[in-house]
Subunit: 726 residues, 2 copies
């Protein structure tokens, strides 16, 4: 019997009389604030189905979710979008801790950007409990708040040795989260790491799942990962806890994107075979292949040493890093033992030695690995060189071929593709609009003309200001989509503003400013103004900010006047400030230090400051902070190149007492700068072996670099010079 229901009450009523073999059909339309509990008992022959009147035309929105409990249930065709769950899961395979779903299937469902509006409030999208469930052909895209996208829970006996099958799902883009908790799939937890999960993860497509280090966090025993494709994912399939994992026949495609990685091995009796890797550039924990060091007698939540593991018959094409003994430190002192790395093929066009050996590798036996003829390694045995040619196969993969390669390298026909995963009736197209991709709009000089035009603008539009025109803003310009503002011509337009900010970047916004002059003369006489601020509310979308050839001046009406001020719960992919001048400012250029909870969060991934002149700036020019000891993330990355810092950092209110203040930054490159009459660069180096280079900087009557913390760094050519400015 098939009953079509129009609302939650009807659904619950239908459920009361449902029989094996029946279907409950959600009527077309928007199901707002609908929390469904699909609790029923089907049979193997006659499952009970929850489905929709028309695929793609039934959407659960607002505060909605679904719990599945019982046996032999099928859920098919639901779409969750425009909302979030008030609980900790959008779809859960249990009613509560005692009643779960078994022998059930979730198929052809969509969860699309169904995010809690608070970036830092945690939830999962799919939590799988019980046994013998299949999760297949779902389309899952755009998780942006805290929490793993999909988990397999093992917290009760009834969920272990579960034989779940997770297959043919499309895991669409998940952007950098900027803290731990951005994983796409996790199986188990450290608390139950020694339980067998027996979950099969097969033929799923992971499309730019970039939340954090761990694309997949395997935390239990006897799981299998087969025929999955990882497309431009930053991070690795990580065997974080648990043993006897099989990773077989997967494909990792990096396309040269930063931080793309492959497989990371921790724990015992792991098998990594027949995987194909291409164009992975990640280093350290996100290498193309990483075998970690362990902690002797490790507690379950730390690092169990690698033993009895096999890494065989894998192919690495133009990958940049393979690591053995990664993470070796005082605590992680146990190198891998009784393990094997055999018959792997390593080819790289340009980088000679892609191996990093962080500890003793005598516990790993290397056999019959093949290197391209330009490649090298310091590992003494187990590698032979071969004249390798890359030949495209019919699937489009570049396959290394050589007489010396005995086994044929092939990619399974079961490999996941964008086409054979997810559903056909829901688009996988990217919806993001790039800056400068829209129409050009000329904005007349005057009061609020820019405000009015921006309000009418569309994503990607470009506002062109009058050469030398004066623009007064009595309202803050809200940027809620990608937008560019620039002056065409030589004389910059001049923007003054009466509110505490000229521009406020809101959720979904990105901003490019070019060839504009900003003057603080009309800004309110209160502490805490800024030219640009983010929304004070949480922003789910990452934003970008580009400043080029701009001028910022006379921002002295009160103290703590910043150029850019961001809020907690916001995250920028990139903040780039180039070719600009900053004169007479009481605050900072970029105050990126609001995540002071020290739980691993931070405000921005990439910061670039290049070719700027900064003079009479009272605060620290740059404040960049990443607290806590978490190792799940990559950034922040910082480049400070060819800037002049002239009288920077001497304000009484500059609590950092420095010209640049860095804390926990993961990659620092400060070079070719001049500091005159300025405070020091201060950096506190902790966590994650940061890469720190401070080179070719000239200091004149300025304080010297101050470094604290417990990490290594490089300083070269800190000249003591007296620059002459013309």
């Amino acid at each position: 019997q098939k009953s079509t229901v129009k609302n939650v009450a009807e659904f619950n009523k239908a459920l009361r009389t449902v029989q094996p073999g029946d279907s409950i059909v959600l009527a077309k339309g928007i199901w707002k604030d609908s929390e469904l509990l699909f609790e029923a008992e089907g049979t193997a022959e006659k499952p009970i189905t929850l489905t929709v009147e028309e695929k793609g035309k039934v959407t659960l929105e607002g505060e909605s979710n679904l719990r599945i409990a019982g046996n032999y249930l099928i859920v098919k065709g639901l779409v969750f979008k425009n909302g979030h769950t008030p609980t900790n899961a959008v779809i859960s395979f249990r009613k509560d801790r005692d009643k779960m779903a078994n022998h059930s299937r979730l198929t052809e469902c969509v969860i699309d950007n169904f995010n809690n509006p608070e970036r830092q409030v945690q939830d999962y999208w799919i939590t799988i409990y019980g046994k013998n469930n299949r999760i297949d052909h779902n389309h899952i895209v755009g998780k942006k708040n805290l929490g793993v996208t999909m988990i397999v829970g093992l917290d009760t006996e009834d969920s272990r040795e579960n034989n779940h099958k997770i297959d043919h799902n499309y895991f669409g883009p998940r952007p950098t989260y900027g803290n731990n908790g951005g994983e796409t799939l996790r199986i188990g937890t450290s608390h139950h790491a020694m339980e067998n999960s027996n979950t099969l993860v097969a033929s799923n497509y992971f499309d730019r799942c970039n939340g954090e280090h761990e694309i997949i966090s395997n935390k239990s025993c006897q799981n299998t990962f087969k025929y999955n494709t990882f497309f431009e994912c930053t991070g690795t399939l990580t065997m974080r806890h648990g043993n006897e994992t099989l990773v077989d026949g997967n494909v990792f495609i990096g396309n040269g994107k930063p931080s793309t990685g492959g497989v990371r091995v921790i724990n015992e009796s792991q098998t990594v075979i027949n995987n194909y890797h291409i164009g992975l550039t990640g280093y350290r924990f996100r290498g193309a292949f990483v075998m970690m060091n362990g902690v002797p007698d490790s507690p379950p939540n730390r690092y169990v040493p690698v033993i009895d593991s096999k890494v065989n018959n894998n192919t690495f094409v133009n990958c940049e890093n393979i690591l053995f003994g990664a993470g070796s430190d005082e605590e992680r002192s146990q190198a891998p033992r009784t393990s094997e790395f055999s018959r792997n093929i390593i080819y790289n066009d340009t980088k000679k030695d892609i191996f990093t050996i962080n500890d003793d590798i005598s516990g790993i036996s290397f056999k019959n690995n093949i290197l391209g003829k330009n490649s090298e390694t310091t590992i003494e045995k187990g590698f032979v060189k071969a004249d390798i040619q890359l030949v495209k196969n019919e699937q489009g993969f570049l396959i290394p071929t050589s007489k010396k390669i005995k086994h044929k390298i092939s990619i399974s026909p079961n490999i996941a593709t964008k086409e054979n995963t997810g559903v056909t009736w829901y688009s996988k197209e990217d919806k993001t609009v790039a800056l400068n991709s829209g129409k050009t709009i000329k904005v007349k000089a005057g009061i609020n003309t820019l405000y009015d035009e921006v309000k009418k603008s569309e994503a990607g539009d470009i506002m062109v200001l009058e050469e030398g025109g004066t623009y007064l803003l009595t309202k803050a310009v809200k940027i809620d989509h990608p937008l560019s503002v620039k002056t065409e011509g030589k004389e910059k337009a001049n923007i003054l503003f009466e509110r505490m900010m000229a521009f406020e970047i809101q959720d979904g916004g990105s901003l490019s400013l070019e060839n504009i002059s900003f003057d603080g003369a009309k800004s309110p006489d209160y502490a805490g103004n800024s030219v640009i601020s983010t929304s004070k509310n949480s922003m789910i979308e990452n934003y970008k900010l580009f400043i080029d050839k701009c001028e910022f001046k006379d921002m002295v009406v009160n103290h703590s006047f910043d150029v850019l001020r961001v809020s907690k719960g916001t995250f920028a992919d990139t903040i780039s400030i180039k070719n600009s001048t900053f004169r007479k400012i009481t605050g900072s250029i970029a105050a990126l230090d609001t995540e002071t909870d020290d739980i691993g969060a931070y405000n921005v991934e990439y910061v670039i400051m290049k070719n700027n002149i900064i003079s009479e700036l009272q605060g620290a020019a740059l404040r960049l902070y990443r607290g806590g000891k978490d190792e799940s993330t990559f950034g922040p990355f910082l480049e400070v190149d060819h800037n002049v810092f002239d009288k920077v950092g001497f304000g009484k209110k500059n609590k950092y007492k420095s010209a640049i203040s860095l804390y926990g930054v993961q990659e620092i490159d400060i070079k070719n700068n001049i500091f005159r009459d300025s405070k020091a660069i201060q950096m506190h180096l902790v966590v994650g072996e940061p890469i720190v280079k401070v080179r070719n900087n000239a200091l004149s009557n300025s304080e010297k670099l101050v470094v604290t913390g417990d990490q290594k760094y490089l300083v070269e050519n800190q000249w003591d010079l007296d620059p002459r400015f013309s």
Copy 2:
């Protein structure tokens, strides 16, 4: 001619043909997102009027505001509520910097809680420019975001010597803002302090205008304040900048409320006469009367020394503090000179000496002042004692009478009252609902039963839990009105929660928890959980939190698990934690340190911790932070009494490395506590001469008090004891 208009377009059309003597009438209804520019030219005989179809039935809501520009204009009867202005003023007496209003009148208008939703985004409600304007009989209540309620601007020549009259306005309650920028009226700025404003402020009623120290900030010359009533206002009428102010015949009623003050004198040739003060308890800068020290050759934004000022014929009944030379320090080293304090009458039932002499008073001549017979002063001359009786006059004021009082103490019939100010057609009643003032609701034990009942509850309701019942929350309970939750009976109900918080206090909410046990065992395995959190978005309303007889335990699933976690842009009037136990917690009890911009903001006014047992708490039990050097605010105030701290503060993630961390707290009273195996109390003392007492605390194997900063403090009886717990 009278034209009724229905929308902004019609308004603008009517304006194009308006003639002297005409009226434009806004039609009844809600005017949403209506920004009006009332620019016209009336004449003295035939002004042009902007008014409403029916008073109280025309409301401007959403993003609305009004600018007035031209001559002889009258605005009457508009109500602004349910919204805010996108600009920096709700009502402004100018179109732009060049075109202002003169000879115009704003009367019988209402601005009611028309706040920017962002507490820290600044605006004004009424900005007065031009000359000869009258602002009278307006009702202005509930400003809660940053920025002065009403200002007189002097930034161009055309706004100086303005002869504005501000009279018979009702300034309704403005709660503590928690930073500088909570003034109710400001005339001028430091930049134009030496200009004559010639503004008359007469017969206005200031009802609990408690934003900050300065109820009124006088910042220009030749202003007059007459017949105003200050009812339970915390702070003072402050002559911040400018000379020749006349403060005559005003009434200050404190009713014994904390921090209520009178007049504060700075600068030259000030006259303070015939004012009546009763029941003012404020000290230091908010004394019943304060004459400040100045800075020699003071820059305009600091403190010009007092000279040639007269303080005569004022009456002080049961006021607690009068100060001379207040603020004396290295910078403010110049005591008052050539000034006079004569024929004032000081009566106090209980406090003997209400005078504080902070510096040399030889520059003040004291003559013919009268003290009650129980009163004393160390000032040698100019005081006589009298046997004073308090006699209620027909207006209800207690008037000191004695044969020795020669001049009759009378209160002008023009004195402001709640009745003769504002408008008759808009209620002045308080809308706030107290905790525990509503109905009692029994809540069954179970999953989300509490969530469901709270969702249906009303302000003031009391949720009563089952004795010993277990309550699981899979959704966070949102508290958006005052609400109490308690167990009746001996065995506490037990609350567990699956979200990152059990309760989230949202804008408008307050929470009382009594006799409940909270267990962290079901909370998510992420850093940063809390039992109670505030909204992550800005909260315009101050909130209260009371915790009594509760138990908090097993909050160890991940690090940084706090009991209370607050967000930037939120402010508590009171956080009170009493008679409760805290065991095995990885974070803090109260993390009140999110205002790290150091611009004077902080998170809470009063913090009370009394009779609690705290054991195995990894973080600092209390983190309380008020950064910056601003002197505009009173708090935070802290009392920590009769608590046991047992193994507190030793967590690796405790970045404060202390058991209690205090920064910039203004009043500290820590007494009768036991610290065993615990980290230290750390306090950094800056700004505002904090009152700090640390007395009768027993330390066993615990670190000793650490004090930094530049302020005085008292420590008594720091015992080294070994307590025996039964």
